[in-house]
Symmetry: C2
Subunit: 318 residues, 2 copies
Amino acid sequence: MYKIGIDLGGTNIVVGVVDGENNIIGKAERKTNLPRPAENIFADMYAAALDALDQAGMSLKDIEYVGLGTPGAVEPESGVITYSANLFFHNVPAKQMLEELFGKMAFVGNDANCAAFGEYIAGAGKYARDMIAVTLGTGVGGGIILNKQLLTGFNGAAGEIGHMVIHVDGEQCNCGRKGCWETYASATALNRMTKELAEKTNDPILKKVIEAEGEINAKVPYQAAREGSKACAELCETYAKYIATGVLNLINMLQPEVICIGGGVSHEGEALLNPILEYVKKESYTRDNAEDLQTSIKLAELGNDAGIIGAALLYKNG
Amino acid sequence: MYKIGIDLGGTNIVVGVVDGENNIIGKAERKTNLPRPAENIFADMYAAALDALDQAGMSLKDIEYVGLGTPGAVEPESGVITYSANLFFHNVPAKQMLEELFGKMAFVGNDANCAAFGEYIAGAGKYARDMIAVTLGTGVGGGIILNKQLLTGFNGAAGEIGHMVIHVDGEQCNCGRKGCWETYASATALNRMTKELAEKTNDPILKKVIEAEGEINAKVPYQAAREGSKACAELCETYAKYIATGVLNLINMLQPEVICIGGGVSHEGEALLNPILEYVKKESYTRDNAEDLQTSIKLAELGNDAGIIGAALLYKNG
């Protein structure tokens, strides 16, 4: 059984053909070219899908379902994109449009939720009952799978884990609140803290790494710490504390079997993960439980493919 | 169809007979008398159940199921109380013990989760798909119902919403973390803040109210605010902000249809609720949604009976 999975982003539309073992066997892209009417964007999804099918040596008749992951909030039953600030969409009947274009049953979900669902079914959450995906990028995104079901909330807007406040009256967030997790745990936050440190200390190792990288990015403080900068080692420790604070909040409230951490910063691997594990071991409400009754914290495995796979598997949700 | 619901607390064992319309039609109590062996406590549950049945004019043959709400973590499948600090329990096979005592099928859950489930089925959450109960008492407790199911987590320990940090490096919590919601939003926290204010300001209205009450309790700052104390009005506003911070975190992450607020402080009614609603209206991630696509925030309706009703209805979960 084959499915089409579509990852609609602000910059690119990526479409994949997904097989019964959750592998992407054909892939094609188009530019999103915002702003333009939804109809035109959907026509490009269809065109890219035909390319992806061609690449896989297939045609539409081999396809059972179509799934779309989109920025914004999706009304779960109707598959209407009620609102997307990024796409300038307002009440776009995405499910209906896809079903008419493809002549197949279609499913629509939020893009971060789709990526989490893909990671759950085919990546770090394989065989687990529940998983929360945490994506550390420009913001902090994610998705929550409980009892094998992707949580969408009664209004399709659940999963905004980056907008939980961990520091009341803290850093201003774009969402209007102060002290959201994403203002402390995103790559953007790490870059801000690295920049502040560079300005404050004139740390020579940090300075050298910034020059070598040509910019301040998430790799910089980790690289400088590896080269011996104590100030950067401390910064990475503080950053781990901020990530762990949100991770621990999720554990204490939801007790998922797995939490997986992805996004650009997660390329630091164990240098990122290990200090988080230390905090969780020390502070989790269930730290005295047997090991197999404690949440496992892992790195995400699928990267950008998770969104396509999760969209293609949306039919399995509910 | 009648059920037995048991609310096991550190001080009292309260047992109720619950009818098909979720009314308690007979009730009896015993002292918990800690510490003593689990067998003896369970024998008192059984004795109290027979009293409650007698009061309802019934006998055990009228009963279909038995449900128990207990402090601590419960392994969902086996109904073993893996650990309860309050009861000094370690791996007590509660489900099995109840089934042997009563000769009926038995279900076991965490007490805060049972209270949430009762409130969901028969109180503030009636007819909703999802509800989160927030209980503001000595601590901040609660329970999470999503897609009509009580969330227990893969290890039976989910729902510790009071132990989400809202202020990184903030007030020390008993759980070992710093800045947990319950250190800012519990009745205990309100009392602490009221005491600090009394010491700092010598506010004459506050002083008078404390004298009239004979102690500092959760009613004091609200009463003093009603009598014209500006400092207390500000304190109540700050307290509302702390409650709203956690409520907003729950909304942004989980988007439940209903959040209900109970516990001692909730007796202040709209004086407590209205400023929380203002914060939510201003800061929720879904504040631009149509009203019917936003979480409703309500006061809890059932008080202490929620725990008995929820325990009696545990058989409905899953």
